[in-house]
Symmetry: C2
Subunit: 595 residues, 2 copies
C-alpha cells in the first residue's frame, strides 16, 4: 500500500522563508489580519483530511472506476461520496471564496497548498471539487445577479458542484468548430442542444445538483471562435425556493474508459434542449471561459506537483527498504545480505530528479499563486500590472513544464521499484497513468507552448519576459559577488543571457516563416521552464546557505537538491536551444502523404 505524508516542512519553507508570505500578506489590506498561526493550523488540518480521508480512497477509485446506470446516473467509487460529505461539512470548498456568498476568502496561495495535498492524495477525487471551484469563479466574475444568487452560495458551500463543457467529438483545441446550439426562449433563457465529450465530473452522486457551464452557438452567430457563447445549465432547474427543482434534459450518455483518473467520471454529456441562461455577453463565451481555463491551468500544474511529491515519497521509502546488490565502492551495510538500493548513484539520480521537480514545482506554483493574490488585492497599479504580466507569462509554463516534469518524475519513481513499480498493488503505476492526462487537458502542452512563445513572448516583443528578466538580473546583481553563490548565480546569469538572445533570434526568423514558432514552441517551453527553475533554485539555495551552520538537515538537503538541479537537470536547456536553432525545415520538408 502506498504512503503519503503531507510535506508540511517544505510547504512552510516555501511559504514563509522563500516567499516571505506572512509579511507580504499582512501588507495587503485584504489579508492584514492573517497570521502564520492561522495559516499553519489550516495547513495541518487540511493535511490530516487529505491523508486520512481521501488518500485511502485513491487505489479503490482506480480499481472500481465510476459506473453508469441505464437511467444515466453515475455512481462514484466506494467512499467518494462520504469523503465529499466530510469535505463539505468541514467547510473546505469555501476556503478561497467570496465572503459575500459564505466563503472564507483565504488567499489563493493557501488554496494552492491545499490542492497540492489533495492531488497527492487523490487526483481523481479532487477533480470533483476542483472543477466546481472553477465554475464558481467563472460565475462570480461573469454571472448575472440572478445567476449569482441562484448558484454561488450552493457552489461555495459545496452542496452543488459545477463543470466545464467545452469539447465536442470533432473539436477540442479548435473550439471555433463547435456545433452545440443555443436557441433563445421567450422568457430570456435558452434551449441548449448538442453533445459534449470528455466532461470531467459531468455526472456523479456527490452533490444534489450540478451546474454545467456550456459553450454553445446562438442562431446566426459569427463563424469560428467569435460566435461562441457561454451558458449555465443546471442538472436540476432551481425552484422558487432556490432548491433543486425540475430535471433538465441534460444527461450522461456514457462514460469513457481511460488510461488513468478512473475515479473521476469522464462523461459524454447530451444536452437535449436543456434550459440554460447566458453567462457574460453573447458571442463572448470564450473570453469568460478563458478565465476559468487560466485557473484550470494552474490547477493542472498543481495536480502534477501533487503526483510528483507522492511518487517521490513512495520511491524513497522503497529505496531505503529494499536491499539488493552492493555499493560500487564496497558494502555499506555489511550486516545485511545486501545494501539498500539508495546506495546506488543511479537510484539517487532517479530520486533526486523527482525531489528537484517536486520542490521546484512547489516553489513555482506557490510563488505564482502569491503573485495572483497580490495582483488581485494591491492598490499599487504598477505592481498590479507587473504581476499580471508575470502571471500571464508563467501560467502556460506552470501547466506544461510542471506536467511534463511530473510524467518524467512519476516514471522515475516507478523505475526505482523495478518490476514492483509495474504492479498495480504498489500504487506507482497509477501515479504515472494519472499524471499522463495532465499533459493533455486544459490545452495540450503544445498549445501551452504556442501560447508561451507566440502570444506571451513574441506577442508583446518580449515585454513580459523582461519583467521576469529583471527579477533575475536584480538577484544576480545582489548575489553575484558572493563566492558561495557563484555555482548558482553564474549558470543563472548565463541562461538569462542566452534566453534573451534566443528569443530575439526566433522573433526575427518568425517574421520570415511563421512555422518557426511552431517548430520552436515545445523546446522553448523546456528552455524557459529551466530559466525559471534556475532562478527559483538559486534563491532557495541562498536561503539554505544562510542556515549552513544550523544542524537542521532540511537545509543540507535543500542545498544538495539545488546542486543536483544545476548539475543534472538544467543542462537540458542547452540541448533544446540547439534544437530550436535547427529551425522548421526538417519538420516541414516531408509531404504529408509521405508520412
Amino acid at each position: 500500500m502506498p504512503i503519503y505524508n503531507p510535506p508540511l516542512r517544505d510547504m512552510k519553507f516555501v511559504m514563509y522563508e522563500f516567499l516571505g508570505a506572512e509579511k507580504i500578506y499582512q501588507s495587503l489590506p485584504k489579508y492584514k489580519e492573517l497570521d502564520r498561526n492561522t495559516l499553519d493550523q489550516i495547513l495541518e488540518e487540511a493535511g490530516k483530511f487529505c491523508k486520512e480521508v481521501i488518500f485511502p480512497l485513491n487505489q479503490i477509485g482506480d480499481r472500481q472506476g465510476c459506473i453508469r446506470s441505464e437511467d444515466g446516473s453515475v455512481k462514484t467509487p466506494d467512499g467518494f461520496k462520504e469523503a465529499y460529505a466530510k469535505y463539505v461539512e468541514a467547510g473546505w470548498p469555501s476556503s478561497a471564496c467570496d465572503t459575500a456568498y459564505g466563503g472564507q476568502d483565504l488567499p489563493a496561495l493557501l488554496n494552492t497548498a491545499l490542492y497540492e495535498m489533495m492531488n497527492s492524495s487523490n487526483q481523481a477525487w479532487t477533480m470533483y471539487p476542483g472543477l466546481s471551484h472553477g465554475a464558481y469563479q467563472c460565475l462570480h466574475e461573469h454571472g448575472t445577479e440572478i445567476q449569482k444568487k441562484l448558484y454561488l452560495e450552493k457552489l461555495v458551500s459545496g452542496i452543488w458542484t459545477g463543470t466545464m463543457c467545452l469539447t465536442e467529438p470533432h473539436c477540442g483545441t479548435d473550439l471555433g468548430l463547435l456545433k452545440t446550439k443555443a436557441e433563445p426562449l421567450a422568457d430570456g433563457s435558452f434551449k441548449i442542444t448538442g453533445t459534449k465529450i470528455f466532461i470531467s465530473s459531468g455526472e456523479h452522486d456527490l452533490s444534489s445538483n450540478i451546474i454545467h457551464l456550456v459553450l454553445a452557438r446562438l442562431p446566426d452567430s459569427p463563424v469560428g471562435s467569435k460566435g461562441i457563447s457561454l451558458f449555465a445549465v443546471p442538472k436540476f432547474i432551481p425552484n422558487e425556493a432556490g432548491e433543486s427543482g425540475e430535471r433538465n434534459p441534460v444527461s450522461c450518455g456514457s462514460l469513457e474508459h481511460k488510461m488513468g483518473i478512473h475515479g473521476n467520471a469522464t462523461c459524454v454529456m447530451n444536452f437535449d434542449g436543456a434550459v440554460g441562461s447566458l453567462v457574460g455577453e453573447a458571442h463572448k463565451g470564450l473570453n469568460a471561459m478563458f478565465i476559468m481555463m487560466n485557473e484550470a491551468r494552474l490547477g493542472v500544474g498543481l495536480q502534477s506537483v501533487g503526483l510528483t511529491e507522492v511518487a517521490y515519497q513512495n520511491s524513497v521509502a522503497y529505496a531505503k527498504e529494499r536491499v539488493q546488490g552492493r555499493s560500487l565502492t564496497g558494502p555499506k551495510e555489511p550486516n545485511k545480505p545486501a545494501d539498500s538500493i539508495i546506495v546506488h548513484p543511479d537510484v539517487r539520480r532517479m530520486l533526486l530528479t523527482q525531489r528537484a521537480y517536486a520542490e521546484g514545482g512547489r516553489a513555482f506554483s506557490y510563488w505564482v499563486s502569491m503573485l495572483i493574490d497580490i495582483e488581485k488585492t494591491t492598490t499599487d497599479e504598477k505592481l498590479k500590472k507587473e504581476n499580471a504580466d508575470l502571471v500571464a507569462l508563467l501560467t502556460p509554463i506552470i501547466k506544461a513544464f510542471i506536467t511534463d516534469n511530473a510524467f518524467t518524475s512519476t516514471n522515475e519513481g516507478l523505475q526505482v521499484l523495478g518490476g514492483h513499480g509495474f504492479i498495480t498493488e504498489w500504487g506507482m503505476e497509477q501515479f504515472v497513468r494519472d499524471a499522463r492526462i495532465n499533459m493533455i487537458y486544459e490545452g495540450t502542452n503544445t498549445i501551452q507552448s504556442l501560447d508561451l512563445l507566440g502570444r506571451k513572448v513574441l506577442g508583446d516583443m518580449g515585454a513580459k519576459l523582461k519583467v521576469f528578466g529583471k527579477y533575475v538580473r536584480d538577484f544576480v546583481e545582489e548575489e553575484g559577488t558572493k563566492k558561495a553563490m557563484a555555482e548558482f548565480v553564474d549558470p543563472l546569469a548565463d541562461i538569462g543571457t542566452k534566453v534573451e538572445k534566443l528569443s530575439m533570434e526566433i522573433g526575427m526568423k518568425a517574421m520570415m516563416n511563421k512555422d518557426v514558432v511552431g517548430a520552436a514552441a515545445v523546446p522553448y517551453m523546456r528552455v524557459l521552464g529551466h530559466f525559471v527553475y534556475a532562478y527559483l533554485f538559486a534563491r532557495m539555495a541562498r536561503i539554505a546557505l544562510d542556515h549552513q551552520k544550523s544542524d537542521d538537515p532540511f537545509y543540507t538537503a535543500k542545498l544538495a537538491t539545488a546542486r543536483f538541479y544545476f548539475a543534472r537537470l538544467l543542462p537540458e536547456a542547452e540541448y533544446h536551444m540547439k534544437v530550436i536553432r535547427s529551425g522548421a525545415d526538417t519538420l516541414m520538408a516531408l509531404d504529408a502523404s509521405h508520412f
Copy 2:
C-alpha cells in the same frame, strides 16, 4: 479501433539495401541456398498472420486479462488459444530452430523481422512463444541429451512452451540472494522448493505442457551468485512415450495485476517439491541463464521496435484525418473547416520522433541480428570474434536505448491524439502501458547501462568500443569527401571523437571513485545509443541520396527522417555528456536518511 500494416517496404529496405543481406547470407555456407524470394514470401505470410490473427486480439487481451481459477489453472483472453494453435499449425515456432529437432533453421535476422511484426500486433500474446523460444535455446545449448530428447522437439513444434523462473519476492536484480532450494533425489533428479514471482507465461491454456527453467540453490552451495544452478521443471512429467504424464507440484499461486501486457499471465509460481533435472553444470546456472537472457534482451528491444512502429502508424493516420485549427502560414485545406493537424510543426515533431525511432530501432536490431548470424556461422575466426565483440557491446544498447525511445515514442503518439489518446478505445494508451515494462524486465535499463559502461566499455579498456569505432571511421573516411554527405558525416565524426574522449575521462575518474561509473551509466547509454544511430542514419541517408533522382517517395522520406534525426534527436547526446562530466558528487552528497 487501431490499425496495423506490416511495414514491409522499410523492413526490406533494411534487409536488402541497408544490410545487403541476400549477398551476405549466400556467402555463409549454412545459408547459401537462401534467396530473396523465399525470405520475402515468409515475411509476407508472417505479416498476414500478425495483422489478421493476433493484432485483432490485442485490445481484447488488454481488456480481459488472464483469469486464474481456484485450481490454479489460468485462462488466457478470448482468442489467444485459437491464435496460438494457428501459429503452431503454420510452423512459425520452428522458424529459427535446429533442423535436428524439426526446426527450419532460418536466420536470426528473419526471426527478428517476424518478432517485430508480432510485437507490433500483440506484445502480450507474443510473450508466450517468445519465452518458449528462449527456453528452447537454453536447453539446446546447455541441456543433456536426455533433456534435448524430451523437450526440444516439443518446444520447436510449439505444442509445449517454456518459461524462465528467476525472480523471487526479495530478489530480482541481485539473484545472488535467491532462496529456492534444489534437493538431490536418488535417481539423479532434484526436488525444487520455493516461490518465484513475475513469471511471464508461467501458467496458461495455450499448450499441453510448460517447461520451467528455474534457478535454485543446491545444498551446501556457495553463497551468492556462484552457488546458483539451473533446472528444467516440467508442469507435467513426461512419461515413457515422451508425452505429458504425471502432474508435477508446480503451480500458479496468483496472477499479478499490472500496468500493461494484461494478456500475458504474470504468475507467482509455487514449487512445492517439484521434480526437475539439472541443466548445465551445478553452481553455474547463471552462466546458462545468461545465454537465454542475452537473447531475451534482444527480444525486449524488438518488443519496443514493434510498439514504436504501431503507435507511429496510428498517430499518423489520426494526424492526417483530424482537422483542427489552421496552419500558422495560412490555410492549407481551405475547402475544409480546418486543416489536418499534420500541417502543424509540432505534430510533425511528434510524428517524426516516432518515425526516426521506429526506423532507427529497426535498422539497429536487424543489423545486430545479422551480426549474430554471421558470428554463429562464419568460419572466419577473426570475423567471428569481431562480431561477438560488437554484439556484446550493442546488446545492452538494444535493450535500453530502444526501450527508452519506445516509451518516448508511444507517448508522443498518444499526445498526437490529444484527449482521444488517453481513451482506451483508441488503443494508444495501451501501447504506452505495454511499452513501460520493457524498460524494466530482463534487467532494468540502469542494469543495462552499467553492463554497457562498466563491463563492455571500461571492462576491456575500450576494445569492443574500438571495433565499432572502426566501422564509423571507415565510413567517415569513405564518405567524408562527398559534399552531399557532409551534413551527416560531420556530426557523426564529431560524436565519435567526443565519445572516445569521454570514455577515457570516465575511465580515469572511475579509478579514483567507482561511483563515477554508476553516476555516468545511464546518460552514457544515451550518448552511445545516439552514436550508433548517427552511424546508422548516416548510412541510410547515403543510400537514399543515391536514389534522389528516382521518383520513389520512400527515399525522400528516408532522407527527411535522417535529417530530422540529426537536427532534433542527436543533440540530446551533448546534454548527457555535460551531465556525465558533473561526476558523482551531486548524487552522493545527501545522506540516505535525509532523502
